[in-house]
Amino acid sequence: MWKLSKKDFQKFVTAMIGSDQQVVGVQAKGDRFAFGPLEQSEDLRLDYDVTLLPPKKYVLPQVETLMTYKIGGDYQSEMASEKLILLGVHPYDLIAINQMDKLFSQDQYDNHYMARRKNITMIACDVVTPSQNVFASSMGTAVVTEGYDILITEIGDGYVLDAATDKGKALMKLAPDATEASQDDLAKRKAVQDKNRTQLNKHPLECKPSYLPKLLERAYDHPIWEEKARTCYSCGSCNTTCPTCYCFDVQDDVNWDLATGKRWRAWDGCLLENFATVAGNHNFRKQRESRFRHRLYRKAKYIPEKIGGEIACVGCGRCITACIPDIANPVAIYNALLEDIGME
Amino acid sequence: MSKNINIHVHHLTRVEGHGNIVVNVTDGTIEKCEWQVPEAPRFFEAMVRGRRWDDIQTIVSRICGICSITHSLASTKAVEDALDIEVSEQADTLRILMHYSEQLQSHVLHVGYLVAPDLFTAPSVVPLVPKAPDAVKTIIRAHRVANQWSDLLAGRTTHPTTLKPGGLTKIPTEKELRQLQETLKATVNDLVTICEVVLSVADKLPNFTRDTEYISLKQDNPPTYTFYHGDITSTDCNGDGPVHIRDWEKVANEYVSPQSTAKWTRWHRDAYAVGALARFNNNADLLSPLGKKVADMFGLKKGNCNPFMNNIAQLVECAHVVETSIEMIDRLLTNGLKEEKISVTPKAGRGSGCVEAPRGILFHTYEFDKNGDCVAANICIPTNQNHANIQKDFEAFVPQFMDRGQDDLRHGMEMLVRSYDPCISCSTHMLNVEFVK
């Protein structure tokens, strides 16, 4: 564990920016925050509440070329090769990425995703300012213990840095001023994390997250889906902004020579009207409520079945903010179900 | 050579919108010589009634795709005039910068893509690509710069999305402005190249003059070669002072011609001209050094009455707006850019906005009720103001050039219309305006 004063931390960030890796960090965007290429250390805002989009846009880009080809055949894989430092990832967002790592490597190994992922040096940071809709405490995602190369915790006058991996330790070479963190520093760090464990909770969930799959088991035909989905725009904002949504579409386009082209994948969302439409215009999830329900089931039942029970909602609250008719709040739905059909 | 001529150009090409040329000469006698405008009328002034103050720009921008920024600025100024909305100096400067991007875009498009084929005797710019690839690429490059410039300031090249009564919804970053400035500096050379190319074929522009009245904006405080602020002036205004833009209807004196779905105008004489040459004839002394240099290259002097020289005046203005913008960006950067909040309270009122479109002076007037809903509108676009003048030019041109034969005459008349850079789809509007008091 290392300690850096705020001033020395700025120097550390400057040194990273000057290194051969691209640095992406959290910056202000109007009165909100967003991840973007960092050009100077002063722009970094580790005191942010939540970013508009989760950092998933760097592990699973909105549009990613999978291959190039000549018409008639000869396909060539395109793999990410650029090294990247992702600076300022909140614990809940990192947990979402940890989950995605599992999903993209299990069964069929997706080396487009994994190549990009391995090129990233992940610098997480503990939350300083809770956002308006965060409920990470309810989901057990307010603090993270794995998946980062370095974890930064602000403790008043400076930062405690936990360099957990070889990558992280190598990067610490850019911070020659770092000193060994004292017992006192560590105690302060623990206090920050302990507080976050309970305080990042604007929408308290009335049960343990591990109970959610069982709850949903009994709620499939509950009227709540129709009630809520009545005003659903099928705009997919709850998908787009969610750190754990990873469905994608695949498309082709050719170059002007009409002889070469590329195939790419791009974000998709299960709330969108034609997500499950096949040729002949048969839509397997035609009703708004069935799409609306599917998202919640994916978060709290289907994906958990694939990744050892972890709930694929990390409580970032982005979908709550993004949903214009205010129906997407997962906690509101789970709590309503709990109230109505109770625990078993 | 035959003494009979029968020209009927149906839907003149390489102009924006639909116009016809009809000439009948029998035994050397001109029986018919007409400029007709059959463009489908679109009735904007009627359509905006009932729409809210903050939707006006969105609608009237669609009057014309080529001068959409100009229409947007004129209407936004009119709404601001009607609703007593103040605009900050920063927003004002950024808007002028936005406006200049359209001047460059439209002028390069006109001279480079639409007029150049005439000068090189080609039907369009397409056959010029293999003949003069470098020249074409230079023109494309300048056009692209202009469009990227509008993209940055207006949100997109056509139909701006950043304009709002009271200011701008989004301003560029200082970094973006600095990049723009660099690009503009690099564009100066391209403009000079384009001017040289045009100069090499400038003798193809017919030597034809007809004395007429030239109308444009004029700004005295500070003295500026203006496109955006000021009052209305004319080469016929001998000391009887500029006219305030709110009184533009007294200048335009619109009337319906049976030849046209667009209305025609007249002020001191039967017809008047607007556009780059009009601005030049009224304001040439205020051009930037590079603008003056380009004028000198072509020997263009104040008081020129050759309508074909409007093309050259456009080149002069290209140089002027680029050079002036480089300075304006310096000023913006020195002052530093600030985010500005806009808040507007609707109220009843009537207001006018007047700016120079690339092809001439443009007037918008609106009246709103207390909720800010539009109750009446009147718009007068530059091309309409030129229609009568084109007709008068025709009447002088045909007898003078008739001897050259039907094809040459037709080609000359087409070029003549094109030199006005008409934007015919802007057509339509109101006569006998009666505002609800």
């Binding site: 579409d249 695949v250 998709d268 397997f284 | -």
Partner: protein, 278 residues
């Protein structure tokens, strides 16, 4: 973070294959015999599918219509959109991209020694044929074999030579029907459920394999329920939208099942918790 070896193959990258034979089947369906350029066999199981890739257009999941017991593999493609239309425009010798085989396929071994009834609707014959031919090639390993086939109209029948042979075999009960009759047609008329009663074997003890358009399932499954076929003995072959074929893109998901991985063939009893399936 999960480590995997960097040398793993790109799961999205198609392999080149060549169309060896092409034949027009119907107004909309075309038949293809395809071989991988690597000269390897696809190594598929009956009921699996491949992703066919046309560079510049896209990919489409297509069932393998041939039995694993022959060289190369066969596809029957219905012109339903961009990719399938592009496939139709290809001639013999043309290259296509192939990924797969994907999916689980039929429980070939489990059904050995059993009575099998195939119920095919329209294009549903294409995937079923991969198993039918396997069964017929290994006829002694299976007990009664019956095939019910329903097609919209006379012009839409395909694999006509082959089904004529099935009809002639004494060790197979082949029953065919058309939704709409016509002069050329002397056989049964009516939707496929109307010929279920013509099954000779005791349905309640048979294994029934169903494949057809989405609406067909509801009615066939109702008839099978009436005939007391245990749900464990019914297998359905489902279609879903697919963009990757490898369980990532999310499009084919029905409840917790990814059709490209755990399907497209399902034991009906196992779909009890998959309300979105049928």
């Amino acid at each position: 973070m999960c480590e995997g070896s960097g040398s793993q193959k790109d799961i999205y990258l198609p392999e080149l294959a060549t169309i060896r034979k092409k034949q027009k089947f119907t107004r909309l369906e075309m038949y293809y015999h395809v071989e991988l350029d690597s000269e390897k066999e696809l190594g598929h199981k009956a009921g699996q599918f491949v992703e066919v890739s046309i560079a510049g257009i896209g990919e489409a999941p297509i069932s393998i219509s041939s039995s694993p017991t022959q060289t190369g593999f066969e596809l029957v493609v219905r012109n339903a959109g961009s990719v399938t239309n592009a496939i139709h425009n290809l001639d013999t010798g043309a290259k296509i991209g192939i990924r797969g085989p994907f999916g689980k396929g039929y429980p070939v071994d489990e059904l050995k020694g059993k009575n099998i009834v195939f119920i095919c609707g329209g294009l549903g014959l294409a995937p079923q044929r991969s198993f039918i031919n396997y069964v017929l090639d290994n006829r002694d390993q299976y007990d009664d074999v019956e095939i019910l086939l329903g097609t919209k109209c006379f012009e839409d029948r395909f694999y006509v030579d082959e089904i004529t042979k099935w009809a002639q075999r004494s060790d197979v009960n082949f029953v065919e029907t058309l939704d709409v009759g016509c002069d050329q047609w002397k056989g049964n008329v009516g939707v496929v459920t109307t010929i279920i009663p013509k099954v000779k074997t005791d349905l309640s003890k048979a294994h029934v394999l169903v494949c057809g358009p989405p609406i067909m399932y509801k009615f066939v499954l109702m008839s099978l329920a009436e005939a007391k076929v245990p749900k464990e003995n019914i297998f359905v072959n489902l279609e879903r939208r697919m963009k990757c074929g490898v369980g990532k893109c999310g499009h084919c998901q029905m409840n917790n099942q990814y059709v490209c991985q755990s399907g497209p063939v399902y034991r009906f009893s196992e779909l009890g918790h998959v309300p979105e399936a049928i």
